[in-house]
Amino acid sequence: MLIIKEVHQQNCLLTYQGPITVNLVSFLGNYIKTFIDYDNKVLVRLFKIYIELTQNVSYYSDETMQVKNGVNCGVGWFTLQEFEDSFRITTGNRILKTDAAKLTGYCEEINGLKEEELRELKRKTRAQAMVRDVGAHIGLIQTSLTSGCKLDFSIESINKVHSFFTISTKVFKQ
């Protein structure tokens, strides 16, 4: 796995790298809600984005690890940073190169839409989603809606088969 880049460690409040289980997501989500000293409305949004992005890593990372009770979960990393005017959440995980175009398409589509158009896309995507696996798309739409900001993303080649997907967004403090 690629290590967290130095840039992501600036102003870092929280960072993690490894298998992302639901218990870990819950534990660190509780930290965000209770230990960060800031306006509750901002923390609610941070928590929602944190859950969607980390669960996307947990469900869809191409790198997986077997944890307790034989459960397989995705491996990746996330960081939470604080800046003067905003908080930023970033996640990273390995993907198959064959999925890169699809993910790029999702993010570019989301970044090209206004709020009402995004809500419409969310409704349409949810209505078509399978019950057993709604897919990563709707989580990315929800992340953009909640943050009110564009998705910053990059896909870097690792080898012939794999790339590394990094996605980031922020929540303004006001």
Partner: protein, 126 residues
Amino acid sequence: MESLVINEVKGSPYYPGVHFNAETGICEMHGESYMEETYKFYEPLITWINEYIKLKKPLAVNFKLTYFNTNSSRLILDILDIVRKYKDSGGAVSVNWYYDKKDPDMIEEVEDFILESGMKINLISY
């Protein structure tokens, strides 16, 4: 028919509490919902509601969820679709959504559910 009760567990707050009362028809979900394999949690709830409406009794669904992820929202939409169909067939149904005024986005979430399901949902702040 028996009531369905799933109590919240302190160590796993990603499961909501569920109290579906077969006597009164009052069905309540509260807490947070972002568990893995979401459908495994929601399928028994959906089965219970489908069985209950066969009794042709009044149904009141009270959502008191403070957070649900997008996977859960897909299953909540299924519940709302079932409830709306029951209402359309003449069933006595009400759906209430209780939300925290401090949550900046919950009203929009519920508005989207109303648009998608066609079910009227009463928004109640606390």
